[in-house]
C-alpha cells in the first residue's frame, strides 16, 4: 500500500489523531502562546498588508456592483436635498439647544489615546479583529476602542504585540446606552457581526427614529458619553414589555483600519 495509495495504516492514523489531540490540549494550556507571539511578530507586515489590500479590493467590487443603482440614488438624493435644505433652516434655530445637550458628550475622565491599526479580521470569530499593539504598548483587557468619538469595541485579550478586540457588532457584545436628552436606556447588541440593534428598551419609554445614542458608562468598561449611533426603525409589540430598534452607525465595522484605544 505504501508508495501506491493515500491510505494510511491504522498505526499512523492513531498516532496522528493522538498527536492532534495533544496539540489541542497544549493549545488550551497556553503552550503555544510564545510561538503565537513570535509568528505574529514575524508576519505582522504581511497581515496588515493583506487586510489593507482586501479592504481596497472590496471597495472596488462594491463600486462596480453599484453602478446600476447610482442613477436611482442620484434622483433620490436630489429630492432628499430639497427636504434637507428646509430642515437645515429649522435646525439652525435649534443649534443653541443642541450645544447644551452636547455637553453630555464630554468625557467624565481625562483619556489618553493610543493609535492602533487593524491587523486582521478573524473570520472564525464574527465581529472580532486583531490590532497591532498589545501589552507592550500598555494596552490591557477591557480597554475601549474608538474612532472619531464613536465607540467601536472592547479589548478582550492581549498579547505582547497584538490584542483581540470585540467589536460592537459582535453577537457577544452588549453595551448599555441611552438616548441623549431623555431617560430612555437600552442595551446595544451586535447582530450577525455586521449590524447593531438596540434592545431591552422599556415600552413605556419614548424612542424615536433618528435619536442619538451614547454609552451610559454604567456596569461597563465603556465610559459615559461615547457616541454609539442613531436609532433607526423601532420595532415595538404591545404584547412585549420591551421594544427594540435598529441602530445606524457611521462607523464601517467591516472596513476598520485606524483606531484609537482609550486609556483611563
Amino acid at each position: 500500500m505504501r508508495g501506491q495509495s493515500f491510505l494510511l495504516t491504522p498505526v499512523q492514523i492513531a498516532s496522528g489523531v493522538v498527536i492532534s489531540f495533544l496539540l489541542i490540549l497544549f493549545s488550551f494550556a497556553g503552550t503555544f502562546d510564545g510561538f503565537r507571539v513570535l509568528i505574529g511578530a514575524v508576519l505582522a507586515g504581511v497581515q496588515s498588508d493583506s487586510t489593507a489590500f482586501f479592504g481596497g479590493f472590496a471597495d472596488e467590487l462594491d463600486f462596480l456592483s453599484s453602478l446600476s443603482s447610482l442613477r436611482d440614488e442620484r434622483d433620490q438624493l436630489i429630492e432628499e436635498n430639497l427636504a434637507l435644505e428646509s430642515e437645515n433652516a429649522t435646525l439652525k434655530t435649534q443649534l443653541d439647544d443642541l450645544r447644551s445637550v452636547t455637553k453630555e458628550l464630554q468625557f467624565d475622565l481625562p483619556f489618553e489615546l493610543i493609535p492602533v491599526r487593524v491587523r486582521f479580521y478573524d473570520q472564525a470569530r464574527m465581529g472580532e479583529v486583531i490590532i497591532n499593539k498589545g501589552s507592550d504598548s500598555n494596552i490591557a483587557v477591557s480597554d475601549v476602542v474608538i474612532v472619531d468619538n464613536f465607540a467601536v469595541g472592547e479589548v478582550i485579550s492581549v498579547e505582547p504585540r497584538s490584542a483581540r478586540v470585540r467589536l460592537l457588532t459582535s453577537p457577544e457584545s452588549a453595551v448599555p446606552v441611552k438616548v441623549i436628552g431623555t431617560e430612555t436606556k437600552g442595551l446595544l447588541r451586535g447582530e450577525f457581526g455586521t449590524g447593531l440593534i438596540l434592545t431591552e428598551v422599556l415600552n413605556e419609554r419614548t424612542l424615536e427614529k433618528g435619536e442619538q445614542l451614547i454609552t451610559t458608562g454604567i456596569n461597563t468598561s465603556f465610559p459615559f458619553g461615547l457616541n454609539a449611533g442613531t436609532a433607526g426603525d423601532v420595532i415595538s409589540l404591545e404584547s412585549e414589555l420591551t421594544k427594540r430598534a435598529r441602530v445606524i452607525s457611521p462607523v464601517e465595522f467591516n472596513n476598520l483600519q485606524r483606531l484609537f484605544v482609550l486609556k483611563q
Partner: protein, 159 residues
C-alpha cells in the same frame, strides 16, 4: 520535479493562506485545506514526513491566523484519513488502486469534519457556503491534476 514542487508547496501555501485569511471575503479565507491536499502528494512517497508536515503546517497557519484552538485542522485530516481507510478496507466495490478517489474522499471528509469542529467549538465556518465549496472543489481538481502529472507511468509488462 516532485521535490521542487513539494518544497514550493510546503513553503508557499501557508503564506498564501495567511494572505487570504486577511480578506473580508469569508469564502476566500477557508482554503486552508489546500495545504493538506498538497501534502498528500508527499504522503504517497513518504507517509511519515507527510504526516508531520500536515501537523506542523496546519498548526503554523492556525497560530498565525489567531485561531483560539490549534490542532483542529490536523484532527479533521486524520479522522478523515481514518474513515477513508476503513471504507476502502471493508468495501468490496471501492478500488484500492484509485488514488484520486481516496484523495477526494479524504479532502471532502476533512472539510466536513473541520466544519463540525469549528461549529462545535463556537467558531464560525463558511466551509459549506456555495463559493467555498466551488473554490475547494477547484483546488481538489487542481491538486489531483498535479498528482496525476507527477505520478510515474506504470510498466504494463511488470508482474
Amino acid at each position: 520535479m516532485t521535490t521542487i514542487l513539494t518544497i514550493i508547496l510546503v513553503l508557499l501555501v501557508p503564506f498564501v493562506e495567511l494572505f487570504f485569511a486577511g480578506a473580508r471575503i469569508a469564502s476566500l479565507s477557508e482554503i486552508r485545506l489546500i495545504y493538506l491536499i498538497g501534502l498528500m502528494l508527499i504522503l504517497v512517497k513518504h507517509p511519515r514526513s507527510g504526516m508531520l508536515l500536515v501537523i506542523a503546517g496546519t498548526l503554523f497557519v492556525e497560530l498565525a491566523a489567531f485561531r483560539p484552538v490549534a490542532g483542529l485542522d490536523a484532527v479533521a485530516f486524520f479522522i478523515a484519513a481514518g474513515i477513508t481507510a476503513v471504507l476502502f478496507r471493508f468495501s468490496s466495490f471501492l478500488p484500492r488502486e484509485n488514488t484520486y478517489l481516496q484523495a477526494a474522499l479524504i479532502f471532502s471528509l476533512s472539510l466536513i469534519m473541520r466544519h463540525v469542529f469549528l461549529i462545535t467549538s463556537g467558531q464560525q465556518s463558511y466551509q459549506l457556503e456555495p463559493v467555498s465549496l466551488v473554490t475547494n472543489g477547484a483546488i481538489l481538481i487542481l491538486a489531483l491534476f498535479i498528482h496525476g502529472r507527477l505520478k510515474k507511468p506504470e510498466n504494463a509488462f511488470k508482474n
